[in-house]
Symmetry: C2
Subunit: 313 residues, 2 copies
């Protein structure tokens, strides 16, 4: 049996998942807790305890929903109701092991790149569709971090400036058009504004969310299919910019909302990219593919990233 | 006196500039030719001759207006009326020296990064404003190339999908709103549609181009100033996406149109970035600065890049 090589922790807004991981990404042990929200000390304490239990003395990787910097500080984590938490520094001091802290999409991409849908390529972009739209980038075989570690916020690429309001306070970001929440919102708007038939009319208005739209679309509901294809169109608009900027070999589409919607959304987005990317006739188009790893991706990727960072010094 | 360390060639749509460059970017000799358009053999022949004359046996760097790949093939050069020209392969074979071929913005960025407005930072983005809008990226101290060497086409980030037509065939790219040509076009439209006073009304309609608008704005013409600020606004929208994606420490604004317009356009764009970038309150904003090197930047950068590539094997 493989040995535990690193510990990976994925801190979500409600659940915290810790995985003891082998050097090839095999999951050897796991724990799941409720995330201590709004309490930075409790958060650090819980992770320290898990690390001592599951991977004492081993590199520790953490993925967290929020903005993290190069030093491993969670600068801004609205879903966790904390800010400026020096997780990396505190845990390095306490545990005396290498600690890598990155945002949740970055660690998920790392797992997909090492052992999932992005393996084998040196240039891979991940876009996640969920409540929001996240992004992360492997460029030239390395994580793209940027000056402060904040690179890869691809959900906030503008696609239609001044358009639909986005959670970030701007209008017209990709997230406002292609997230799971955007799909639900758009369906509710169109059900109010339009007359056509749809199984979604049988639901309470509040129950018409991204998941309900996707399930109806997969069940053949023409209205729901149209709403989802519209989100796929906008994803394609955003990906056109992303491909023009990064020239990836592979684009991995992940996130909770994509788990079911990928078969509808991904082909639509790919079609737009193929039509619009610059020099399309003179280049190999990237493969746009769904993520392969499920809910464990973030914690596995965090562990592998911590391991690789520890090895490369 | 410094010794010639490499030769840099900047191939534009009309002029070809060759510079013999020292190891710190000093220009030691220069030649200027008319670009042989539509004739790949003549183009390769002219560069080979310049290399033998100005830098025999030395690394050769080439910057060219068009899409170039990792192998040094000019895949698509509409301004030169050629395509799929294996410049790198042919010149390596002929001259038996290291040959680096990149697009014109990439080499200009390389010069700004090494000895100009981007020096000292590991994460630098360049956006050029001219007939079109170009881009190039240094990420983590390395050129961002992408899978095929086509990364950095930042002028074709969508900012208003379905909006103004772009030279690339799409609608709503950054280039369609922020290029020098876009400024001229927008001014001509508004002069037709609106009644207000402007010194630009004294010109023939065809003479109202980006340069004329900029000169009038610098002269205090309120209408021209408004048109230019509008381009600055859109540049800011595009830069917001670019900063969200790349998290650069420095954004260098270059290109012919920016030479004069930077004092108006850059502050406006910076203001938008500061308002809109994700997590603005939790990060250091990048400095948005005009390019420092003038028309020699491309050839100097091509030479330095060829030198660095030759050194790193």
């Amino acid at each position: 049996m493989a040995e535990v090589a690193a510990l990976g922790v994925d801190i979500g807004g409600t659940k915290l998942l810790a995985l003891a991981v082998g050097s090839d990404g095999e999951v050897l042990d796991r724990r799941r807790l409720t995330t201590p929200r709004g309490d930075a000390d409790a958060l650090g304490g819980a992770i320290g305890e898990l690390a001592r239990e599951l991977g004492p003395g081993l590199p520790l990787g953490i993925g967290v929903a929020g903005i993290t910097d190069r030093d491993g500080t969670l600068r801004y984590g609205p879903n966790l109701a904390v800010e400026d938490v020096p997780l990396g520094r505190d845990l390095r001091g306490e545990l005396e092991v290498p600690v890598a802290v990155h945002n949740d999409v970055t660690v998920a991409l790392y797992a997909e790149w090492r052992i999932g849908a992005g393996r084998g390529a040196d240039d891979v972009v991940m876009v996640t569709l969920g409540t929001g739209v996240g992004g992360a980038v492997i460029a030239g075989g390395r994580l793209l971090t940027g000056a402060e570690g904040l690179a890869g916020e691809l959900g906030h690429l503008p696609v239609y400036d001044g358009g639909r309001p986005c959670g970030c306070g701007n209008r017209g970001c990709l997230e406002a058009y292609a997230s799971g929440s955007a799909v639900g919102l758009r369906a509710r708007e169109r059900l109010t504004d339009e007359d056509g038939p749809s199984a979604l009319r049988e639901l309470d208005r509040d129950a018409v969310d991204g998941k309900a739209v996707t399930l109806a679309a997969l069940d053949g509901d023409a209205f729901a299919l149209e709403v989802l294809r519209e989100a796929g169109y906008w994803l394609g608009v955003g990906l056109t910019g992303i491909v023009n900027a990064f020239d990836p070999a592979i684009v991995v589409i992940g996130g909770g909302a994509a788990t079911r919607s990928a078969p509808i959304v991904v082909p639509e987005a790919s079609r737009i990219v193929a039509e619009r990317v610059i020099g399309a006739d003179h280049r190999t188009l990237p493969r746009v593919v769904p993520a392969e790893l499920a809910d464990d991706a973030g914690a596995i990727g965090a562990a592998l990233l911590a391991l690789d960072e520890a090895r490369s010094g």
